[in-house]
């Protein structure tokens, strides 16, 4: 398993907004533990909410990094709030929309909206899944006596490759 919880970036409006999608597949191990069959009911595969938060963090992290041309190491520092109103299951697609609320040298705050739609019905029928507020730190600007590696360990080939495959690469 690779730690990447978005499959494709659909929109990237510099310093403003990023939209990404994640297709949920039964091939993902985690869905078989969340939740397995019991003696009283069959298996109930549901996308875990913490991984939906991670998908939003990856979408928003790319947005915040792109805003400063990936010169900053962008670290998720705080989940201000995450409110879920529905569930997402295999065969469905999650759509993450991250919008920058504030950004400065120290970091950025993000308002995130998550929707889910069924492959059989299409994106026009997407329904709300969650609202997520995130705070990111530009970690080199907030060292507080700590040192971090010079190279940008946040925006690895994994994320830059995703950007390129989505048509947003250099």
């Amino acid at each position: 398993m690779r730690w990447i919880w978005i499959d494709r970036i659909l929109e990237l409006d510099k310093g403003q907004r990023c939209v990404a999608v994640k297709n949920i597949s039964l091939a993902e191990d985690v869905l078989h533990d969340h939740f397995p069959a019991t003696s009283s009911r069959p298996a109930m595969p549901v996308m875990p909410n913490p991984l939906i938060v991670e998908g939003m963090a990856q979408t928003a992290g790319i947005l915040v990094g792109h805003a400063r041309n990936f010169a900053e190491k962008v670290i998720l520092a705080k989940i201000g709030g995450a409110e879920f109103t529905d569930i997402a299951v295999p065969g469905q697609t999650i759509r993450f929309t991250a919008e920058i609320d504030r950004i400065d040298d120290a970091g950025a705050s993000i308002q995130g909206h998550v929707e889910v739609f069924d492959s059989a019905i299409g994106p026009a029928q997407a329904r709300p899944l969650a609202k997520i507020e995130l705070l990111f730190s530009h970690i080199d600007q907030n060292r507080a006596g700590l040192d971090f590696p010079e190279h940008n360990f946040v925006f690895t080939e994994q994320f830059m490759g995703l950007l390129q495959r989505s048509g947003f690469g250099e």
Binding site: A77, K78, G80, D101, L135
Partner: protein, 128 residues
Amino acid sequence: MALSHEEIYKRIDDVLVDALALDDDEVTPEAKLVSDLGAESIDFLDIVFRLEKEFEIKIEQGELFPANVLENADYVQDGKVTDAGMEELRKRMAHADLTEFEASRDVEAFSDIFTVDTVVKFVEGKLA
């Protein structure tokens, strides 16, 4: 129309309740952000962003919470703030009451300067 002290306090109360996930009755003017309300370093950035939005003001990095002063070797020696450091803090923190801190000058006690009232005075200064 200028906001009253009470209106500013009420809005800052709401900002802190949201940023620090507090109960309404936990915020008092004397409450210390770190030791009483549980703020961590990243919460200060969150509070600054929320204040900017709430009051439509621009707060420069280190303006409200100039912790970077304590990273300057000229301003701190053996865990205590030097005379030059105190002068710098007084210059940059007109919104804070430094009397108690002046007695110890202990870097470890620096965060105690930041009370709810400090934030209120800072915002009042920005809006004046």
